[in-house]
Subunit: 146 residues, 2 copies
DNA sequence: TACGATTGTTTATCGCACGACTTAAATAGG
DNA sequence: CCTATTTAAGTCGTGCGATAAACAATCGTA
C-alpha cells in the first residue's frame, strides 16, 4: 500500500513528463516546417498575442529565466523572426518585436492547434477543462517552490 | 473567436509544458541530494518496481529511445546505482540490475512523493484522477503520432 | 553622489533528445 | 542449411534547453 507511492504508474510527475513528450513529438514535424523548436514556438505565441514585450515579461509568462531566454531569442533573431532593441525609456530593458516574417508565421501556425485537438481525440471543452486543472496544479507547485 | 486558438492561455500544450517544469523545479533540490536527474529518477523508479529489465523494456515504459537511454544508463552505472550485463539467453539484450546502493536509494526516495502531494495542495484521490486524465490524453497523442 | 535594486547578458557546465548509422545476434524463409 | 530480415543496443553527431554564478549597465532613491 505505502509501496504504491513509488510505482511509476502512480506518478503524476511521470504523467506530465510523458504527456509533454508525446505533445512534443506531435508538434515536432509541424514546427520543423516553421523552423521553430517547441519553446521558441511558445515565445512566438506570446509575441503574436502581444508584440513588443520585454525579455522579463516573456519570461514571466513562460516561467523561464532570462539566461534561458537570451540565447533562445538570439536564435529567433538569427532566424529573422524577431528584432531585439534596447528600450529608449529604460535602457536596461530589451524589447522584442516581431519582424514581418515573424508576423507572417502566425498564419502558418494557425493550422497547428486544430491538429492537436484532432489528435487529442476529445472535445475542445473537455481539453479546456483539463488544461484548467493542470494550470491549477502548476500554480500550487509554483507557489510551493517559491 | 478563432483567434483564441492562438492564445497562450488556451494551449493545453503550454499547460503541460509549464506544469512539467514546475514539477521539475520542485524535484530538483530533492533529486540533487540523491545525485539523480529527473529522467534518471524515472529509470530508477521503474527498476525499484521491477529489477533486471532490458534497455528496451525500460524505454517502452518511459517512451525513450535506446540512443537516449544508453548514455543515461551509463551515467547511472558510473554513479554506482546500476549494473549492465548482457543477457545469457539473448545476447542482444542488456539487463539492467540495481546495485545495493541503487536499492538503498529507494528508501531515501520514498520521502519525495509525500512532498509532491503536499506541494500539490490537493488530495491524493484528486491527483490520481487528474493523472488518469493526463495519461488518457497521452495515449491519444501517442496513438495519433504512430 | 553613492548605493542598492533591477534588467539582461555572459560563461561554463551538463544532460536530454533524436536521427542516422553501425554492429551483433536471433529468427524466418527458401 | 544458408541467406535475408528483423530486433536490440550502442555510436556518432548535433543541437537545444536549463541552471548557477558572475558581470555589466542602468535606474531609482536616499
Amino acid at each position: 500500500m505505502t509501496d504504491d507511492l513509488l510505482k511509476l504508474d502512480n506518478f503524476i510527475c511521470f504523467a506530465l513528463y510523458s504527456a509533454n513528450h508525446a505533445m512534443n513529438r506531435l508538434y515536432k514535424p509541424m514546427l520543423d516546417e516553421l523552423n521553430l523548436t517547441y519553446p521558441q514556438y511558445l515565445v512566438m505565441v506570446t509575441l503574436w498575442e502581444e508584440d513588443g514585450q520585454t525579455v522579463g515579461g516573456i519570461g514571466e509568462k513562460l516561467f523561464l529565466e532570462s539566461s534561458t531566454l537570451t540565447p533562445l531569442l538570439k536564435r529567433l533573431e538569427a532566424a529573422g523572426f524577431i528584432q531585439r532593441t534596447r528600450s529608449k525609456e529604460d535602457e536596461r530593458q530589451v524589447l522584442i518585436r516581431l519582424t514581418s516574417e515573424g508576423t507572417a508565421l502566425k498564419t502558418k501556425a494557425a493550422t497547428i492547434p486544430p491538429c492537436i485537438l484532432d489528435a487529442s481525440n476529445t472535445t475542445a471543452a473537455e481539453l479546456t477543462r483539463l488544461k484548467a486543472e493542470i494550470v491549477t496544479l502548476r500554480e500550487a507547485l509554483n507557489k510551493s517552490a517559491a
